[in-house]
Amino acid sequence: MTYPRYIFVWAGLVVLTAITVTSASLNFGRIGILIVLAIAAIKSTLVILYFMNLFFEKRLLLKILVPIAICTLAIFIGMTYTDVLFR
């Protein structure tokens, strides 16, 4: 990484923020929540890969930790939803 690349990533994050705010005022209805969450996911991926340097991480253990946490959360949330929706 170099200084310009960090600034490039930051500019990307700011642009994505602008897109989220605009999309919220355009009223997409029900899929609005999916749009803002997808953008938030892209933004956090950018932060994790480039600011937190996982993109250049060589150790397998550290590479797989974040996906493991996401899967754990997905199981928690998925199971709770199946419980609530089909009760």
Binding site: Y6, W10, F28, G32, I48, F51, M52, L62
Partner: protein, 207 residues
Amino acid sequence: MSSSHSQSVEAHDEGVKARVGIWLFLLSEILLFGGMFLLYSMYRYKNPADFHAGSMELSRFDGTLNTIVLLTSSLTVVVALFSLHVKQNMRRAAIFLAATIGLGLTFLVVKSFEWGAKFEHGLYPGAKFLESQPHGFILFFGLYFTMTGLHALHVIVGMVVLSFVLNFVLRRKITPERINIMENGALYWHLVDIIWIFLFPLFYLIS
């Protein structure tokens, strides 16, 4: 020559241990906030209209401003780390660390104005006006104060950690060879940013 080589190998291993440790801690933080996001999504699913009404009370401008402030602070902390680690520029690292702490303070000031405005309008837990509102509306503000409050607490902790890091850099205790504390402080700061990246659309941008 050989002894200095083995020392550098040791220092390298030390760095990996420190990284695994901090990442495990960060994952526990993600699960802590994850539980709250789950609660939030359930209540929002059950009270969509009240959550929309609650969100309308929040200032989109303040939320967006704070998002930009935190994103910029993430940039300054990574630039500070890069300046010291790769460019070995102590002075620049110190300046950018100070800027990061300043941006954290800016975030808290904006947040306090926001909370102050809510308090003035009787929108705080236990307020008579809020109690008279629909159930989902009360839940929205309960979650809003709990989650942004816990996040603000994380911002304060991050600022304290980065202040120690800045102090160590100025006293030459953190050097390009011994950078673990600074690296871990920066990783924690990025996590605080990531949590805000999700809090912002969920509370401020309900359409």
